[in-house]
Homo-oligomer: 264 residues x 2
Amino acid sequence: MPRHITSFSNDTVKRLRSLREKKARRLEGLFLAEGLRIMAEARDVGVLPEIVACAEGDLHPLAAEIVAQAEAAGAEAIVVPDEIMAKMSGKDNPPLLLGAYRQPRLGLADLDRSTSPMWFVAEKLRDPGNIGTILRTGDAVAAGGLILVDDSADPYSVEAVRASMGAIFTQKIVQVPWEPFLAWLREEPGQLVGTSLQTDHDYLDPTYEQPCFLLVGNEQAGLPDAYEAECDLLVKMPMLGRADSLNAAVATAVMAFHIRASWR
Amino acid sequence: MPRHITSFSNDTVKRLRSLREKKARRLEGLFLAEGLRIMAEARDVGVLPEIVACAEGDLHPLAAEIVAQAEAAGAEAIVVPDEIMAKMSGKDNPPLLLGAYRQPRLGLADLDRSTSPMWFVAEKLRDPGNIGTILRTGDAVAAGGLILVDDSADPYSVEAVRASMGAIFTQKIVQVPWEPFLAWLREEPGQLVGTSLQTDHDYLDPTYEQPCFLLVGNEQAGLPDAYEAECDLLVKMPMLGRADSLNAAVATAVMAFHIRASWR
């Protein structure tokens, strides 16, 4: 049975609250997911929280089920008043359920590129919303996962988890510097595809090979020249207006859906 | 010459600050754009701010040029210390330049559908970032504009303007209830295309007509059945993973780029 907690200074409350900060997430190896929808997604793929907090009052039957399963698996469960829920979630209108989940912390050796024809690789993404949205798109195109190259925003931040709409629990995520990524990439077949302004290759023309590693650059700066030079294929998306770039998550999705369509 | 202001309670400072709120934007008919990049975009398409604020110290030559042009066109210009810039922009790391621009406030009668083969129509979008990102995509595919149907987030909010990366100044924006939109749509040729889970039509198969009006539904609920029923074409994007939807701005972009490609 969940313990009833009414103090803001309770250790579990403080611990959950701390997970809004990157430093605490890194130290604890945990991350927050908020709301029944995403927590049900996690449960449906066999992932349960290690700590779960629910609001006072009657729980939704599905929420009660998740709490019971989490407790049976050894999780700590607490019930807290709305004010504490609001404090933990940073929202005036807090979720009825939130959970702290273990970060898988995978390395390149944990990826089996034969499991999917498409993988996303992103360089120095700064916006956690973009990372979450790319994960969500990855689920839609059955990508194998997202390799975050160099120093990116935290894919386990609350904003990224929320934007992923549950894909944080299904897409494999690896964080790694460029050089080891490149060494790993070249160990086996795999086509590295970058989008660039410095090419005349229209994105509709080439034949995309499998597995395809789709490389996305930083929101402001795009891909460094040295990274473009390593691509097996550079393509350009036509920009018909005044701007010369798309939102990073949008560009990734347009490319991914086109490549998927080209394979049909 | 810009006036030097050091008081938080100065009327112009308070007025600029107030434009972070929807109510003030509606009352004043103005909106904020922050930073040199987007304000240079505006200037390059002939749009100048009615009020402009710059940080103390040497101005970037391009910023100085914009300020001078705005003043010559009758704008009020002020120079303020960093603390006031931070207060007005809501950022610890404030921009060096910000401006208040007039909202065009167009109606359907201001749209000439023959000027573009593609138009975006969005229903009850809640996330201003999505609206801005859709405007940015609209620029990339040379869409004519964005028609916001029913009650949407404010396209002139700071988040939407920022995500638009300048497209707020080039894409035509109309806010209108569904019924008058539909009546206007049917006055002349135009194919209304919706994405839906309730169809077997794959998005790659149909012939898209010009002008095409691409209809995007609310982030949570998608399109109401009654709105889907009005579509000339309903298509489905394949979802290969667990989720049944994409981010609204992502779905719009994937469809728009595919339709553009299908016309080549």
